[in-house]
Structures are given as structure tokens and as C-alpha cells.
């Protein structure tokens, strides 16, 4: 049992890790085909895993409704909307439109999902404004530098700003292409090395806490 829980996953990780690291260096069509079929397998496993996810979602909200926890009404709304959408989706054969006519399923997507998603995305503009207000308050030397850089970049990115402050266009490009890009690349080098090191640790079983911790 312990073999199936510990050694087996480590063995699979080692083999899969080595094979797919090697795959990167093999241009042969057989190698591409192997990657394609494994990707398809992953999609299939992902589809089954969704059942796991949805059952978790149903379980969590069923408990809330049963115990009448605070906000259990929202759980009820979730149940009603999810079951309703599944029923309507099955009724419409999963099609959003038939012969150019929108189905009830398509209506739910176009007139409920899309506007709700759009609303969430639109809120971002207000959140950016409030976050920018907080970070641009020049309360320290670093914040003052950030404020000055941000003002120059903002001026340089709009025609009116460049008209008022003609140098702002070139200076903002310099800030973005030299200062910003070099710092970003330094971060990316660190991230890449971290990724490779973590991959080595996982492939060779040095890092195994993702299997559920423990060192046995």
C-alpha cells in the first residue's frame, strides 16, 4: 500500500519527467505524436477530475443549506442556477444557437454570463484607480520615485501629455525599455532558475511534499 502511495507516484514522476525533458530535444514526428497523445490523455483526466470538483462544490453548499449557515441563501441560488443551466443545456443539446435562432442555453450565456463577466472585469478600472492612489502617495523616498516615474510614463503614453511635456515620450520609452525591462529580465532569470531547480527536485524525488508531505 505504501508503495502505491509513495514510491509509485515518485517512479511515475521520474519516468515522465525524464521522457518529456528528452522530448524537447527530439524533433522526430514520433516524439511530437507522443506529446500530442499525452496532452489528450491529460485533457481526458482533467474532464474526469471536473466531476471531483463539481461534487466538492455540491457537497460544500449542501452542508451550508442543511445547517442553515450564514449566507445559505447564496448556496441555494448556486444550486438552482447550476441545476437549471445543466437542464437547459441538455435540453438545447449544448448548442447556443440553432438555425441562427438563439437557444435558451445561448441566452443564458450571452445575456447572463457575458455581462456578469464583463462587470467583474470593468470593476478592475476602479480598483486600479484606488490602488494607484494608495501607492502613489509620496510618503517615502521610494514612493516618490515611483510617483515621478509613473507621472512621466503616463504623460509619455498619451498625445496630450507629450504635447504638454515634449520630452516625456522619449523619457517614458527609456524608463520602459531600459529600467523596467532590465528589472523584469532579472526577475525572469530568477524565476526560470527557480523553475528548473524545482523541476529537478520533483523529477528526482527530492521535493515530495506535493504528494502529501512526510519523508517516509
Amino acid at each position: 500500500m505504501i508503495f502505491l502511495r509513495r514510491q509509485m507516484p515518485l517512479l511515475i514522476t521520474l519516468l515522465a519527467g525524464l521522457v518529456f525533458a528528452a522530448q524537447y530535444y527530439v524533433p522526430h514526428p514520433a516524439s511530437e505524436q507522443l506529446l500530442t497523445s499525452v496532452t489528450k490523455w491529460l485533457q481526458i483526466i482533467g474532464g474526469f477530475a471536473l466531476i471531483l470538483g463539481v461534487s466538492s462544490l455540491f457537497h460544500v453548499h449542501a452542508v451550508k443549506i442543511r445547517r442553515k449557515e450564514a449566507g445559505w441563501g447564496y448556496s441555494f441560488v448556486l444550486y438552482a442556477s447550476m441545476l437549471g443551466t445543466i437542464a437547459i443545456g441538455l435540453w438545447a443539446n449544448g448548442k447556443e444557437a440553432v438555425d441562427g435562432t438563439i437557444t435558451a442555453f445561448g441566452w443564458i450565456y450571452s445575456y447572463m454570463m457575458v455581462p456578469l463577466q464583463g462587470t467583474m472585469f470593468a470593476i478592475l478600472a476602479f480598483f486600479i484607480a484606488s490602488a494607484a492612489y494608495r501607492s502613489f502617495r509620496a510618503r517615502s523616498r521610494e514612493a516618490a520615485v515611483l510617483l515621478v516615474a509613473a507621472v512621466i510614463v503616463m504623460m509619455g503614453r498619451v498625445p496630450l501629455g507629450e504635447y504638454i511635456l515634449p520630452l516625456s515620450g522619449d523619457v517614458s520609452q527609456w524608463i520602459l525599455n531600459v529600467l523596467n525591462a532590465s528589472v523584469r529580465r532579472a526577475i525572469l532569470i530568477g524565476v526560470s532558475l527557480g523553475t528548473v531547480a524545482l523541476s529537478f527536485k520533483i523529477i528526482f524525488g527530492v521535493e515530495r511534499s506535493y504528494l502529501g508531505g512526510g519523508k517516509e
Binding site: 524533433p27 466538492s56 452542508v63 530568477g190 524565476v191 531547480a197 506535493y210
Partner: protein, 377 residues
């Protein structure tokens, strides 16, 4: 063509004294059996005779099929050409000077796929070198203690959990937008183990909403093990890890709702994030929670830095496991990364000097060094 997946032919021929922009080369191809008259062949490429040298190609010096001043053209599938692996083709070259068209002898060639891309062998060498450095550093770390610089964001993990315990409020932990195939999600899951262990020790509730069901299943196991290791298996709740949805903004709305209703005292944002980062952290900030973020999504870092109390920037996310556990193996890996970074810095400096020297002196020899660090596909 060597190092490719098949479906291409490379034509190589020596430079001629008449090579100039006035003279043109034509590459001719025929797939008919026994074709011998090049004038009936299809023209698949035409260019001035002073172009298409091997030195202009992307091949590194160790895979160049001939001298740098030799001409080369690669015929690939597309634009009216369809090459089948194993099939014999007839190839010829035509020199066009004014109205005169001269043909070379016809040669036969067949394309075939290769098992190794020798162009990328430097990549493999560097990866193995880095791997060797990491394992060497691990062996050193097992023998003596290695200094770790302070990472305030990770020092604050205890503070955040302690604050949640004092206030009697839960801890909210997010593992990011990606699935378990992304190293940042794995790093987030590893840190979750440490956070869950402390949360179990302090008997504080933990909420881990997920966007990916497989990540949820993995994190459930990690959390369970953490509670066992903390000696509090009875406190483990199966639904501490729960799935919400794979949809970006639906997930964001749900987590924002959890933040506003349950008012967690500590929010952890680890892993990869996209446009939802600011929506999550700004809502968290409005509830007064202590917020710790850790991401390798460089495009989201400004938002996290602005709205969170502590941010693990890039590689610090991967260092978290070592920092929190202080295990020699983990710490050794960090030292290996640092040596790797020092090497990259050295290569950047030497490479810049050599590339400048190469440009100033119009010399090819700096390429011997520069090609080794090039990413050639």
C-alpha cells in the same frame, strides 16, 4: 536537413567569383522519377547571388554543414512545396545573369526526420550543468550550514497565522490560476503544507478555494498530512479545500464574496495570476486582512506589491519551501540557484564584451562563445 523533424531539404553550394546583387540564384525542384532536365523543374526559391550564406543562418557553429562563406537554402513544406519524408527529389541550381540562365548538374535528395536536435544540445548541456550545480550544492548543504537572507514575506507567515488565531478568523489561501503542471502551482501547494501545519498547530480554520479540481485533490492530501504532522488530525476538515469554478471571473467573484462574508484575517495569494489579482487583493485589503502574495507572474507583481503587505517576488516563491523548512536539501537547492545566477551574470558580462569586440573588429571568433548560450530552435 540535420536536426529537424523531416519535411525539408538543405541545398549547399560554394561561393562563386560572380556572386553579386546583379546575378541571381534559383533553386529548382522536381518530384518526377528520372527527371533530368532542370529547365522543366519548379523554381522554389530565387534570390540575389550575394545573399543566403551559412554565416547568415541561425545554425550554431557546431551544426554548420559547411564553411560560413558557403551558400545555403532550406526548402521547407509550404508555399507550393510539399516534401514527403523518404521520397527522392531532384534538385538543381540555376544561375541567372541578365537573360542567360545556366544550370548545375541535377542531384537527388530525400528528406528524413532526425532523432536529436543537435542545435539545442547547448541547452541540454547547460541544463545538466545547472542540475549538477544544484546537486553539488545540496551535498555541500548537508555538510555545513548555509546562510539564507531574510525574506520578510515568509517571516510574516507566522505573524499572519497568529493574527488570525487571535481574532478567531479563518485563513484564506489561494493556489493561483494554473493547474499542477505549472511549477508555481506546485510551489504554492508546497507552501500550503507549511501554512496548514502552523494553522493546525494554532487550531485556526483554513479555507482553500480552488480553480482546478486536480490541484484541489492534491492540496487536500497536503493539508491532511500537515494536520497529521501537527498532531491534530481530528481538526482536519475535508472541505477546507473546495472547488469553485474554472472560470476566471466567476472564481474571482466567489472568492471576493468569501472575503467579504467570512472576513479572513490573513489572505495568501500564491502561484500564477492574471487580471483577477487586483480584484482579489484590493477586496482583501478593504477587509483589513494581512495579505501575503507570492507569484512568478511578473506582469501582476505591481498589483500585488501595491495591495499586499508582503510580496514574494518571482524566485522567492520557489525559495519559500526551503526558507520555511530549513532542510539542507532545500537550502542547498537555493544555493545552487544562486551559483546559477552568478554564472548567468558572468556570461552576460563576458558575452556583452565579446559581442562588442566582434562587432568592432568584424570578427567571427566571438561566436564560438556566444553560440553556446544562444537558444536555437
Amino acid at each position: 536537413m540535420p536536426s529537424d523533424g523531416g519535411g525539408s531539404l538543405t541545398v549547399i553550394w560554394p561561393p562563386a567569383p560572380y556572386d553579386s546583387k546583379e546575378v541571381r540564384y534559383q533553386i529548382l525542384l522536381s518530384d518526377k522519377n528520372g527527371a533530368s532536365d532542370p529547365s522543366t523543374f519548379k523554381v522554389v526559391a530565387e534570390f540575389p547571388a550575394n545573399t543566403h550564406y551559412i554565416r547568415e543562418s541561425k545554425w550554431p557553429w557546431w551544426t554548420r554543414p559547411d564553411a560560413p562563406e558557403t551558400h545555403q537554402v532550406t526548402i521547407k513544406n509550404g508555399k507550393g512545396v510539399e516534401l514527403k519524408d523518404g521520397k527522392t527529389y531532384h534538385v538543381a541550381l540555376a544561375v541567372v545573369s541578365g537573360d542567360v540562365r545556366t544550370f548545375t548538374t541535377v542531384v537527388q535528395a530525400a528528406s528524413e526526420p532526425n532523432w536529436i536536435n543537435w542545435n539545442q544540445i547547448n541547452n541540454l548541456f547547460l541544463a545538466l550543468l545547472f542540475g549538477g550545480i544544484v546537486f553539488y550544492a545540496i551535498s555541500v548543504a548537508k555538510k555545513r550550514e548555509i546562510f539564507l537572507r531574510r525574506i520578510p514575506g515568509l517571516d510574516a507567515v507566522d505573524e499572519a497565522i497568529g493574527r488570525s488565531t487571535e481574532l478567531g478568523k479563518p485563513i484564506l489561501y489561494l493556489t493561483g490560476a494554473h493547474d499542477m503542471s505549472d511549477p508555481s502551482t506546485i510551489a504554492a501547494a508546497v507552501i500550503l503544507g507549511r501554512v496548514a501545519k502552523r494553522a493546525a498547530a494554532y487550531e485556526t480554520d483554513l479555507l482553500v478555494p480552488h480553480r482546478d479540481p486536480i490541484t484541489m485533490a492534491v492540496c487536500q492530501e497536503i493539508t491532511k498530512q500537515a494536520y497529521l504532522e501537527a498532531g491534530k488530525p481530528d481538526l482536519f476538515k475535508e472541505d477546507a479545500n473546495f472547488f469553485i469554478t474554472t472560470d476566471q471571473f466567476s472564481y474571482t467573484a466567489a472568492v471576493d464574496g468569501i472575503m467579504l462574508r467570512k472576513k479572513p484575517a490573513a489572505n495568501f495569494f500564491m502561484g500564477a495570476y492574471f487580471a483577477e489579482s487586483l480584484l482579489l487583493t484590493e477586496t482583501g485589503a478593504s477587509t483589513g486582512a494581512i495579505q501575503i502574495a507570492g507569484t512568478d507572474s511578473d506582469h501582476q507583481l505591481p498589483f500585488f506589491v501595491t495591495t499586499c503587505d508582503y510580496t514574494l517576488i518571482g524566485e522567492e516563491l520557489y525559495a519559500a519551501s526551503a526558507y520555511l523548512s530549513r532542510e539542507p536539501i532545500q537550502v542547498g537547492t537555493l544555493r545552487g540557484q544562486d551559483i546559477g545566477k552568478a554564472l548567468i551574470l558572468g556570461v552576460l558580462t563576458v558575452g556583452t564584451l565579446l559581442a562588442t569586440a566582434g562587432a568592432v573588429l568584424d570578427a567571427q571568433w566571438p561566436q564560438l562563445f556566444l553560440d553556446v548560450f544562444k537558444d536555437v530552435k
